[in-house]
Symmetry: C2
Subunit: 403 residues, 2 copies
C-alpha cells in the first residue's frame, strides 16, 4: 500500500483526487500495489466535497505520519510550498509537484535534498500541463546531445494571439475574451508578461542542458506590445506571431535563454499550434526536430501528469527516480543581447530612411498603414547593432524572426 | 561496465554504433557506468569500417559470452531475428529492438520470455523512429484511460501524399521522386500498401490498450488508390488526404484498428505533418489530445531511440524495465466493417443518382471534372450500408473522413 497526501485543494489538487478516485483500479493494476489518498491539506474545509473526510489543516500530521510515502504539492508559489516540500523530503517522503515557480527557483536545491534522502522529487506537471515532456527529455532523448528547446509554453497568450490573428481582435479585446472564457486570470500579468513561460523554459533548459537556469538569467518579454499592425505585417510575409520560450546551446557551451514574441513561418509545425494548446520543439544531434503537443494547462490534463509521477514514484519507492541537473551559476548562461538574430521592425519613418540606415532590409506592407509607418525584416544582427542603425527613428515593435 | 552486442550492421545497426561512439562520454555520465560496444554480428565483413574489429559472424559467441548484458537487434524480419532474440533473452541478456515486424507479430511472447528471465525487452525505435512514444504512452500517460491512437506512421507515404498535394504530382511520379531521394525502397510495397503502418499501429494499440493486437486483425489499405482528383476534392472541402493508422477503444471495450487513407481537416494538427515526418495523436480521458511529432525513420533518429533504450536497460540491469501487455485473441478486436464512419466517395454517376440513393450527401466539386464523375461526403454509416446505397454505381475512391 502506498499512501498519498495532497497539499492544496485547488484546481490541480482536486483534479489529482478525482483522477486517483476515477482511475483507481487501472492505477493499482499498473503500479502493482494499491495507491491510496490519505490526506488533503488545505486551510479551508470542503463540507460538500466527496473528499471532505480526507481534509486536514495541519501539515505536521502528514510530516509525522510514517505511512505517507508520497506528498503531492499543488500549493504554488515559493514560500509555504518550499517549506512543506523541504520538510516532506526530509521526512523521507517523495514529493510530486506541479509548481513551476518553485521548481524554476529552487529545483536544484530540492533535487539535491531528495537525492540525499533517497527519495524522488518529480515535477512533470510543472511544464506543459499534461504533455509528457520532462521524462522524454531526460530519458527517451538521452542518447542525443540536445542543442535547442523552443516552445509555445503558455496557453493564455497563445489563445490571445490566435484570436488577434484569426478574428482580428485587439490585444485588449482578446484578453477580455480569454478572461471571460476562464483562460486568463483576473490579474493576467504572469501570463501576458511572459513570467509563466519564463519559469517553464528555465525548467526545460535545466533538464536539457544539465545546469540550473534561473528565471533572473532569462530576459523575458510578453505580448502586451503586439498590435494588429504587427499581425498584418507578419501575415504579409507568410508568418505568424507566437510567444516563444527558447533556450539554445551556443558554440561555447553556454545557454542563451529568453522569452519573447517571434515571427515564425506559417508552415512550421509550431505555427499550427492554436488556441490554448502548447507545444515544445526539441532539437538533438541525432534525432533532429521532435515536437510534443497538447493542452498545456487545465485541471485534468495537469492532474493526469501529477498522477503519472505519483505512479512512477510508487513503483520506485525504494529506488528513487532521477530527473536532475547540476548547480546553476553566472557561467551557465549568455545574454541574448550579444547573439545575432533576424529582426522584424515596425517604426515611424520612411523606406528611404530605412535604406539609408544600411540594414539590408526586406520591406513589408499592409493595407491601411499610415504614411509615416514602415516595417521590415533585417538580416541577422545583435540587437545593439540594430538599435544604433535605427537611432533617431521612433520604434513601434521589435520582434525576432525564427528561421 | 555494460557490454553491448549489435545484431545486423545495416542502416540502424551502424547508426547505433556511431551514436554510442560519438556520444559515449555523455552516455556513460548519464548511465553512471561505462557502456561499451563489444560485438557486431553480420554475415558480411566491413574492412573499411572503423568498427571492423568488432565484427563477428557467429551468434553463439554473443550467446555464450556472459559479459554481454544487452543485445541490440536490428536485423529485421521475424525469422532469424526471432531465433536470436529468444536465445539472447534465454541467455539472460536484455534485448533492445528496432524491429517492428517482430514486435507486432511476437511482442507478447517475447515480453513474457523477458519477464520470466528477469531482463528487459525494449523497442522504442520500432515505432516513430526517434520520436519518443512508447515510453510516454506506458509511463507518462499512465494515469489516463486511453481511448484512441491515431497517427501518420509511415514517412514514405506521407512524403508521396505531400508531393501529390503540394506539387500536383501523380502517385507514380511522387513515388519515383521518393525513390530517387532515398525515401522509398526499390520495392515500395510494405510502405505504399500500408503494411509498415499496420505493424506500428499494432504495437501502439497493444501498449495503449493492454492486449496484443496482431497485424492479421487490422484491415489495411495503402495509398495506391489515391488520385489527384481525390486530392482536389479534398482541398475543395478544406481537407487533406493522409494515410492514418487508427486504433479506437469502442464502448464494449474492444479495439477497432485499421490503416487507411482519410480526409482530415486542413487545420487539424495532423494535417500540418508534411514530408517524411510522422506524428502520433493520443486521446486520454484526463489529458485530452496529445501529439508527438518528429522524424519517423532515418539512421540517426532511429539509432538514438535504440541507444536511449540501451541506456535505460543499462540503468536497470538488475530491475528490468517494463513495457508490456497481455495476450491477444479474437475477443480483443472488432472489425471496422460494422462501425459507422463519415465517407468520402468519388464514383461514376450524377448528382441526381446520389440524391436518389438517399445518402444525405454533401456534393463536392473540382475544376476539370468529367461530366459523369461525382464526389461527395456522407453522414456517418457502416461501409456495408453505404455500399448497398451505391449499388449499380461504379466506384472510384472511398475514404473515411476524420472528424
Amino acid at each position: 500500500m502506498v499512501n498519498v497526501a495532497i497539499l492544496g485543494f485547488g484546481t490541480v489538487g482536486s483534479g489529482v483526487a478525482e483522477v486517483l478516485a476515477k482511475n483507481g483500479e487501472h492505477i493499482d493494476q499498473k503500479v502493482e500495489t494499491p495507491v491510496r489518498l490519505k490526506y488533503i491539506l488545505d486551510v479551508r474545509d470542503f463540507p460538500e466535497s466527496p473528499f471532505q473526510d480526507k481534509i486536514i489543516h495541519d501539515f505536521s500530521t502528514i510530516e509525522n505520519d510514517k505511512s505517507v510515502d508520497i506528498v503531492v504539492e499543488t500549493i504554488g508559489g515559493a514560500t509555504v510550498a518550499l517549506d512543506y516540500t523541504r520538510r516532506a523530503l526530509r521526512a523521507g517522503k517523495s514529493v510530486v509537484s506541479s509548481n513551476k515557480e518553485l521548481v524554476a527557483e529552487r529545483g536544484y536545491e530540492l533535487i539535491q535534498l531528495a537525492s540525499q534522502m533517497g527519495v524522488s522529487y518529480l515535477f512533470e506537471a510543472s511544464v506543459g500541463g499534461g504533455i509528457p515532456i520532462l521524462r522524454p527529455l531526460s530519458q527517451c532523448l538521452a542518447a542525443n546531445e540536445l542543442t535547442e528547446i523552443c516552445g509555445i509554453l503558455n496557453g493564455t497568450t497563445n489563445y490571445i494571439l490566435t484570436r488577434m490573428i484569426r478574428a482580428g481582435l485587439s490585444f485588449e479585446a482578446a484578453l477580455k475574451e480569454a478572461q471571460e472564457n476562464g483562460y486568463a486570470e483576473k490579474d493576467p500579468t504572469a501570463d501576458v508578461e511572459g513570467h509563466d513561460a519564463c519559469r517553464k523554459i528555465c525548467i526545460l533548459a535545466s533538464i536539457a542542458f544539465g545546469r540550473h537556469v534561473y528565471p533572473r538569467q532569462v530576459p523575458t518579454e510578453g505580448i502586451t506590445g503586439v498590435t494588429l499592425a504587427d499581425v498584418a505585417y507578419a501575415e504579409s510575409c507568410n508568418r505568424k506571431i507566437k510567444l516563444l520560450g527558447r533556450a539554445v546551446k551556443e558554440l561555447d557551451g553556454k545557454i542563451c535563454a529568453y522569452v519573447a514574441p517571434h515571427l515564425i513561418d506559417a508552415e512550421a509545425p509550431l505555427a499550427g499550434v492554436e488556441d490554448v494548446f502548447n507545444a515544445i520543439m526539441v532539437k538533438g544531434d541525432a534525432i533532429g526536430d521532435v515536437m510534443f503537443y497538447g493542452r498545456g494547462a487545465g485541471k485534468l490534463p495537469t492532474a493526469s501528469a501529477v498522477v503519472a509521477d505519483v505512479m512512477d514514484a510508487a513503483r520506485h519507492i525504494r529506488s528513487r527516480k532521477r530527473v536532475e541537473w547540476g548547480p546553476g551559476g553566472e557561467d551557465v548562461t549568455v545574454s541574448p543581447e550579444g547573439v545575432p538574430f533576424r529582426w522584424y521592425v515596425r517604426c515611424a519613418g520612411t523606406a528611404e530612411k530605412v535604406r539609408a540606415a544600411g540594414l539590408d532590409a526586406a520591406l513589408l506592407s499592409r493595407s491601411g498603414a499610415p504614411a509615416d509607418e514602415v516595417a521590415f525584416l533585417t538580416r541577422a544582427m545583435p540587437r545593439g547593432e540594430l538599435m544604433s542603425a535605427l537611432s533617431g527613428m521612433e520604434l513601434g515593435s521589435l520582434f525576432r524572426v525564427l528561421e
